[in-house]
């Protein structure tokens, strides 16, 4: 199986029981760089996919929590290079890994080298919040050579024709942003959002995961039957920040 197929398969498997699969986000090296491996392992134990945030100085799509975690990680010297080295040196979890990064760190690393180095340490996909579909050809092509997915995002304001085009080109999964806004707020999942998510799912050949503002078991439950996965980010970062057990928190999120 290629890395992007492993990613899709893990989400489908996680969703097999009806509840959405859990894609769990942590900022690499937050709150402590030296506990990254331990935190990653603990998060993976409660999740179907782990999304590792590469910190960036200007996280324009992120709210306060991820801004704070990114700055703290950067202060400890965390970089893409460091993250890949850590992944290469550890006993990697069974859950597929996805890197979330703003574009510039990837651009400076070099796309071809990135695709090879990432695939070599078990990274199955990339999520790049400031890379809209139209600007993604170069990175998509480089990642494809290594079988690694460039996960596309869609939003409630994405026009139907574009939505179809973006979904058709997505690999791994489609990231359906639940709202217009930055990460970290709490969203309700009203019928209009469910209707939008259903549209995304109908257009997508790969699984659909909903994200931005999902913090509770109740919200995850509301998504059941509509999408295959739920991304939890800021809420989990706050769990780690408070020093609580992420595995237990993620299990509770799944409702038991």
């Amino acid at each position: 199986m290629k890395p992007h197929e492993r990613l899709s398969a893990a989400i489908r498997k996680g969703a097999a029981g009806g509840e959405p699969a859990i894609v769990a986000f942590l900022t690499a090296g937050f709150p402590e760089a030296k506990k990254f491996r331990e935190h990653l392992t603990a998060v993976a134990a409660g999740a179907d996919v782990v999304e590792i945030g590469v910190p960036f100085t200007d996280p324009m799509a992120d709210g306060m929590t991820i801004q704070r975690s990114s700055q703290a990680a950067l202060k400890q010297g965390v970089s893409l290079r460091w993250i890949l080295a850590e992944l290469g040196a550890m006993q990697r979890p069974a859950a597929p890994l996805v890197l979330m990064s703003y574009l510039n760190p990837l651009l400076q690393y070099g796309y071809e080298r990135l695709a090879a180095d990432a695939a070599a340490v078990g990274v199955c996909g990339f999520i790049v919040p400031d890379l809209p579909f139209d600007e993604g050809d170069d990175l998509r092509a480089a990642l494809r050579m290594a079988g690694v997915a460039l996960v596309q995002m869609v939003t409630p304001v994405t026009m139907p024709e574009r939505l179809a085009r973006v979904c058709a080109a997505s690999e791994g999964f489609v990231y359906a942003v639940t709202m217009t806004g930055t990460t970290g707020k709490s969203v309700e999942v009203p019928d209009s959002v469910l209707e939008y998510l259903a549209r995304v799912r109908a257009a997508s050949p790969v699984p659909v995961c909903a994200g931005f503002g999902i913090r509770s078991a109740a919200q995850a439950r509301d998504l059941r039957g509509t999408v295959e996965g739920a991304v939890v980010g800021s809420a989990l970062v706050e769990v780690l920040e408070r020093g609580e057990d992420p595995t237990a928190w993620l299990r509770a999120l799944r409702g038991g």
Partner: protein, 419 residues
């Protein structure tokens, strides 16, 4: 020239030909390799609407008539072209100023703010957000919004609020909400990040009034079109007064809006040297200046691919400049193009050089320039020393009243404080 920017003479010629033929930005919002649209997917429909709205309204006669009317009766255009006799004598070259400091609210920023606010109104925007560094774009946005009856929120870095305090009060008096930005580097870059976050939250009802020739397509071209009034007027005025063009044209470069507005109408005049002056801060090391065209290399920040001050991991570096309006780690993509094509020369002036130039201009010409503009003044002085007897035209982008807190701490402290 910047050692990180390498183009063969043939490539340079090709880029310049395309620029002169009006081919940039292309359909993808690119100026050669630079520019583009690197934003969250949520903003794509809003940028597409903005681009369509710009193409529909800007060329329309009724829009142009309304804009020209407001520029004349409210902004005070055309601004004067002034000969600077005592500076000319001191520097040994003929010095002319295009007086954007005389425009309403005290800087060129009003040309763009008014134009975008009029466009926002036509596109049915319910509220305006803007960022500001020196506070001049914030003040201009607040004024234009007050004039048109649009609610206005301005994001400003906490450090800039302190060093440009007079402008914070002006914005508030004109009814704008000023929001301090305490995250990031607390200067212009963080203010843009925060304005983008606001816009992402309400991309349909909110209009982002971006203040420089940076950001995602179509902002760099929109801002250029609205600021080119500077260079068009100056070129006509100069020809009328002197019967010829100047030998060199100068402007300071932060994001690059006053510079592109001044330069663009002169790009085809091959006999005119064009020189942009960036903030050299305290020195040439990374973190000591804000001179992205001099020391940066290509990368993506805040929606566009351009030259950036960054580290090898692609993290954006903090900058240092005495001037809040130049204190930015990126630069507009069209300047990156003009550098790459070899048409414009970019250099820098340090904090101390800018302060000295400000002092000299104030005492010899009775004009207190903005600290941003003072960088261009130093560049002009340096050129004059190498080109005695020649003629130069400088964009006096703004006045220095807003810089009093900094001047009290520096030039006036050296002279025994304010008393």
């Amino acid at each position: 020239m910047n050692a990180n920017v390498k183009f063969t003479p043939e490539e340079q010629q090709r880029l310049l030909d395309a620029e002169l033929a009006g081919k940039f930005p292309d359909a993808r919002g690119r100026f050669g390799p630079y520019g583009g649209r690197y934003v969250p997917e949520t903003l794509i429909p809003a940028l597409e609407r903005l681009e369509a709205g710009m193409r529909e309204h800007l060329p329309r006669e009724d829009f142009q008539r309304e804009l020209a009317g407001q520029l004349e009766s409210w902004v005070g255009r055309p601004t004067a072209l002034s000969y600077a006799p005592r500076l000319s004598a001191a520097w040994g070259a003929e010095v002319w100023f295009k007086r954007e400091d005389l425009a309403h609210t005290g800087a060129h920023k009003i040309n763009n703010a008014l134009g975008q606010a009029l466009l926002a109104q036509r596109l049915g925007a319910k509220r305006i957000v803007a960022e500001t560094g020196a506070g001049q774009h914030g003040v201009a946005s607040a004024a234009a919004c007050a004039r048109l009856g649009l609610p206005c929120t301005v994001y400003m870095g906490a450090i800039d609020m302190e060093r440009q305090a007079p402008n914070v009060g002006r914005m508030r008096l004109m009814g704008a909400t000023v929001v301090p930005v305490t995250g990031g580097d607390q200067t212009l870059r963080s203010a843009i990040d925060e304005a983008l976050r606001d816009w992402v939250s309400d991309p349909n009802g909110t209009f982002y009034l971006l203040g420089s020739a940076v950001g995602p397509h179509p902002y760099p071209v929109l801002v250029r079109e609205l600021q080119s009034v500077i260079g068009r007027e100056a070129r006509t005025q100069y020809l009328k007064r002197q019967g010829r063009l100047p030998d060199a044209v100068f402007a300071c470069v932060g994001g690059g809006s006053n510079a592109i507005g001044m330069f663009h109408p002169f790009v085809a005049d091959r006999e005119v040297a064009i020189i942009g002056v960036e903030a050299g801060g305290r020195g040439t090391g990374l973190g000591q200046n804000a001179a992205s065209l001099s020391y940066g290399w290509p990368g993506v920040l805040q929606g566009c691919y351009s030259l950036l001050l960054q580290d090898e991991n692609g993290q954006i570096h903090e900058t240092d400049s005495i001037s809040a309006g130049l204190d930015y780690p990126g630069v507009g993509p069209e300047h990156a193009l003009l550098l790459s094509a070899g048409r414009v020369q970019y250099e820098s002036a340090t904090d101390d050089e800018a302060l000295a130039a400000l002092q000299e201009c104030a005492t010899l010409e009775g004009i207190l320039p903005a600290l941003e503009t003072a960088h261009a003044l130093h560049g002009a002085k340096r050129w004059a020393a190498r080109n005695p007897g020649r003629q130069l035209l400088l964009c006096m982008s703004g006045r220095g009243d807003k810089d009093m807190p900094t001047l009290q701490r520096t030039l006036l402290a050296d002279q025994g404080g304010a008393r």
